[in-house]
């Protein structure tokens, strides 16, 4: 089976790759582009560890075919910080000790950023429901929710 040529944008950089028709966007990000920030926790869209934005829409990259990225903009956790300046969400995750093992952290950050772009002033319940697709087994979510609420407040104030 011949490969598909894809031209896309990842974190603002023009990227081209060849992929199998069956390959997922997650496979290509991790195995062909060299961006291993998005993680595969399940491969079935249940854990959210592979969350990325595709043209501004939050998706599980394990449920998107790599070929679908043609002509679109992909944003991953690697694009969150601005050079050596962390995004407020990243700073707040550190300040609130909102990670233990850190495997879910990239997906949580991408999902939380997508939430705050749509809803800069979410209630605790809204944050909890928005992040319900991002599994964390370590923290019990308490500190994650606090970090996102605090980041939202600081971004509104900024």
């Amino acid at each position: 089976m011949s490969k598909i040529h894809v031209s896309t944008s990842i974190n603002g950089d023009a990227v081209e790759y060849l992929c199998d028709p069956s390959e997922t966007l997650l496979d290509v990000l991790r195995n062909r582009v060299g961006l291993t920030g998005a993680k595969e926790g399940c491969g079935s869209g249940d854990c959210g560890a592979c969350s990325v934005e595709l043209d501004g829409r939050l998706v599980c990259s394990c449920l998107v075919l790599a070929a679908e990225a043609e002509g679109k903009e992909v944003s991953t956790v690697e694009g969150l910080a601005d050079g050596d300046k962390l995004h407020i969400l990243q700073q707040k995750m550190l300040e609130h000790a909102a990670l233990q093992c850190g495997i879910c952290t990239p997906g949580i950050l991408v999902a939380a950023k997508a939430l705050l772009e749509k809803n800069p002033d979410p209630t605790e319940t809204e944050v909890r429901y928005w992040l319900a697709g991002n599994l964390c087994r370590c923290t019990g979510y308490d500190k994650i929710i606090r970090a996102v609420m605090d980041a939202a407040a600081e971004m509104r104030g900024a």
């Binding site: 991790r30 291993t36 926790g41 093992c101 019990g140 308490d142």
Partner: protein, 755 residues
């Protein structure tokens, strides 16, 4: 892997002091890597020329392997190596042989998902195609997956002809372990009771549910030297097992731990690593293996399921006169000691004149269990704490008052043998009683649950090394994978002891060639044991630095003390010299005798047990049977919280795992013996919208066995939630719940049954 749990001997390590660094909340040293996606986990590494390997797994719950024909797979283009059990070395100990047989079935498959063969190929796709070309002839056998069914004389026998030690007459051939604990005359105790409650309970098997599937990358050249990269809780364990299974010296195998995406006990053994190493040996190429989530559920160890009978007698005023528990656990197809730990912990919270616990482990056609956070304790204490709650309910007594009246304290002869030293149960119960949560009003269909929890904590073999750098900074090497922020707490203890700022220290987790042996990251041992070894390594470095200062000052080394990060002359006869800081001593170290370092190796003891108390308010919808957690508060004795954020995190995370165990999580097997819910959609761990904030109250009752008073905190937090939630649900629903998980259909059936 069996970990020996030793009770904390009355140590003299602890001395009270004022802390400068310990108890603060600095950002963790690996934090930026983890929020930017830079941190490398198990599946994130690649190697030039790397192959990908996948595993052929049994479709049967129990079958004899008649033959395996790998010729079709080997003939496929792109396939570089195939291994079966024939490619591994027979082991001297039955424990190691069981672990090896679990990695690759030998003669028989014991569960749905048991590994039979593995293929290394140029891609995952080719490897998976090759698996289909392997012909395995099975003779399918009858199976058993339920704990009670496994003990029946009519049950199919898993290991025919294998004899297990100390099994009393009358048990069938699937009983692989039997244990008894206790003291006093329980018959006399029950005779003194005003009321006796007897109940039977069942709990389902749950999985640790770490979000990172098992992953490894192995290489081995024709020179017989190997390298393994793996996400594991213990890389020395991986080294020892993998080297033994492929038949090489441990010195020739270096194992480097990746960042680890959760473990909770589930990564304290090997599954893929020896297989990848054998494939690398055969192919001469690096081999990467990553489990799918389905494989994680089907073939890596969940915890045990249990069936327990509890009998407790009480006087009218709430004094327990006797307690007895019979615990039956199944942990899959190979022997384990989880039932023993259940029997030891069941009544640990109580000071009893008469107590007896009996435990059986039963072999069944399920995956080999692995440790899961305080293994064995949650289900045992769930059963006991449910009966204590029912007694309080029947006698109309306050559940915390009754626990205070019966609480274990310093000097109590514990239900499992040792006498307790300083412990924090009474203080923890008192804190719970005084907390506003306990007095808050409840709404309709709501109930409040209380439970105690206990864990031994482990110490064990530990090595730490630190170098004092010429610029006055310190590099620490430890050998225990950091799952929840331990590099921060180790750096903090090094900084505290040396008297320098936290940011002058960097701690790394070294590979197996960096420093001496370390036990796996388990038993809540790292902050305790690695912390103890770090403090002692720092003291060794300090002694060295005091000697350097003495040399410069021309005074006796015994006349130099270490205060606030500097050598100072001690006493009037030492002479007048200004303090010589760590940085000053380090800068001139080449002139005073060479590099300065400290190291410490110890088989630590005195871990210090930890108690917790959980309070939960639940609301049960009588129409649907759905349970909502309305409020949750955790109280736990940490001895001394080095980094309180990560102590709270352990308490909160443990509570939520326990909530999942209580309400949702369950391994579901069909009549065919196959696992029916091998994915996160159908095996539902708690999500953010299921939960309220989890309040965490840290108590600090110093552990005599640690210089700073530290107790392990990782495991105790998962112990109380099962009973706390069950007690809350029982009050809210108006009927005693005796089976976990308390799924909505089960709660509705209980409500209907009580009508």
């Amino acid at each position: 892997m069996v970990t020996e749990y030793k009770e904390g001997a009355a140590g003299t390590e602890y001395s009270k002091r004022d802390f400068k660094v310990v108890g603060t909340r600095p950002p963790r040293p690996d934090g930026v890597d983890k929020v930017t996606g830079r941190a490398l986990f198990g599946a994130d590494l690649t190697a030039p020329g790397m192959l990908h390997a996948t595993i052929l797994r049994s479709p049967h719950a129990h079958a004899r392997i008649v033959s395996i024909d790998i010729s079709g797979a080997l003939a496929l283009d792109g396939v570089k190596a195939v291994v079966t059990s024939n490619d591994f070395v027979k082991q001297g100990s039955s424990g190691n042989q069981d672990t090896l047989d679990n990695c690759m079935a030998r003669g028989k498959v014991f569960y749905d998902g048991h590994a039979v063969a593995a293929v290394a190929a140029v891609s995952v796709k080719v490897a998976n195609e090759a698996l289909k070309l392997i012909k395995v002839e099975y003779e399918v056998l009858p199976h058993v997956t339920d704990v009670d069914a496994g003990m029946l004389d009519s049950a199919p026998v898993l290991h025919e002809g294998r004899k297990f030690r100390n099994i009393p007459e009358g048990n069938n051939a699937n009983v692989s372990g039997y244990w008894e604990f206790g003291h006093g005359d329980t018959d006399a105790g029950f005779a003194k009771a005003d009321i006796i409650v007897e109940r039977s309970f069942k709990t389902a098997a749950t999985h640790q549910g770490y979000i990172e599937p098992h992953a490894t990358l192995a290489t081995m050249g024709p020179d017989g030297r190997g390298e393994i990269w793996a996400c594991t809780q213990g890389h020395y364990m991986v080294r020892d097992m993998a080297a033994a299974f492929v038949g090489m010296d441990t010195s020739q195998l270096r194992v480097t731990p990746s960042e680890i995406g959760g473990g909770f006990g589930g990564k304290t053994t090997v599954y893929l690593e020896p297989v990848a190493l054998a494939l690398a040996k055969k192919s001469g190429r690096p081999v990467k293996m990553v489990m799918t989530r389905e494989e994680v559920f089907r073939a890596s160890g969940p915890t045990t399921s249990s069936s327990t009978d509890v009998k407790i007698g009480m006087t009218k005023d709430g004094r327990i006169t006797a307690g007895q528990a019979k615990l039956r656990y199944q942990g899959g197809a190979y022997p384990n000691i989880t039932a023993m730990l259940g029997a030891m912990t069941a009544f640990a919270a109580y000071d009893l004149d008469a107590v007896q616990t009996l435990a059986w482990n039963v072999l069944t056609n399920r995956p080999k269990q692995a440790a899961y956070r305080a293994p064995g304790a949650p289900m045992a204490i769930y059963a006991v704490e449910s009966v204590v709650d029912e007694l309080c309910q029947k006698l109309d007594l306050d559940p915390i008052d009754v626990r205070l009246m019966n609480a274990a304290k310093k000097g109590t002869l514990s239900s499992y043998g040792p006498t307790f030293d300083e412990i924090g149960l009474v203080a923890t119960l008192e804190a719970a009683k005084a907390h506003p949560h306990y007095a808050a009003p409840l709404g309709p269909n709501q109930g409040r649950g209380v439970s105690c929890g206990f864990w031994f904590n482990f110490a064990g073999n530990t090595s730490v090394s630190m170098g004092i750098n010429e610029d006055g900074t310190v590099s620490v090497i430890e050998g225990n994978p950091d799952i929840g922020g331990s590099r921060a707490s180790i750096s903090m203890m090094a900084a505290e002891e040396l008297g320098i700022p936290f940011d002058k220290v960097r701690t790394i987790v070294g590979d197996t060639n960096s420093i001496g042996f370390n036990d796996v990251t388990d038993g809540s041992r790292v902050t305790f044991s690695v912390g103890l070894a770090t403090i002692k390594a720092a003291r060794a470095a300090i002694k060295n630095m005091c000697g350097r200062a003495a040399q410069v000052w021309g005074i006796d080394a015994d006349a130099v003390d270490w205060v606030d990060g500097a050598a100072v002359p001690m006493g009037h006869n030492a002479g007048e010299f200004p303090p010589m800081t760590l940085a000053e001593i380090a800068k001139d170290s080449a002139k005073t005798g060479g590099p300065i370092a400290g190291h410490h190796e110890v088989n630590a003891d005195g871990a210090g047990v930890s108690f917790g108390v959980h309070l939960v308010d639940v609301e049960v919808d009588p129409e649907t049977g759905f349970t909502e957690i309305k409020r949750y508060t955790v109280f736990q004795d940490a001895g001394k919280a080095i980094h309180p954020d990560y102590v709270e995190g352990q308490m909160q995370g443990g509570a939520v795992q326990g909530i999942g165990w209580a309400l949702n999580e369950e391994y579901i097997y069909g009549e065919d013996g196959k696992l029916q819910n091998a994915g996160f959609l159908d095996y539902r761990i708690p999500v953010a919208s299921d939960l309220p904030m989890i309040d965490a109250v840290i108590l600090e009752i110093p552990n005599p066995g640690h210089p700073y008073g530290v107790r392990g905190v990782g495991e105790t937090g998962i112990v109380p939630p099962l009973a706390a939630v069950a007690n809350g649900v029982s009050h809210a629903a108006g009927v005693r719940m005796t089976e976990l998980p308390m799924s909505p259909p089960r709660i509705l059936a209980a409500i209907d049954g009580a009508k």
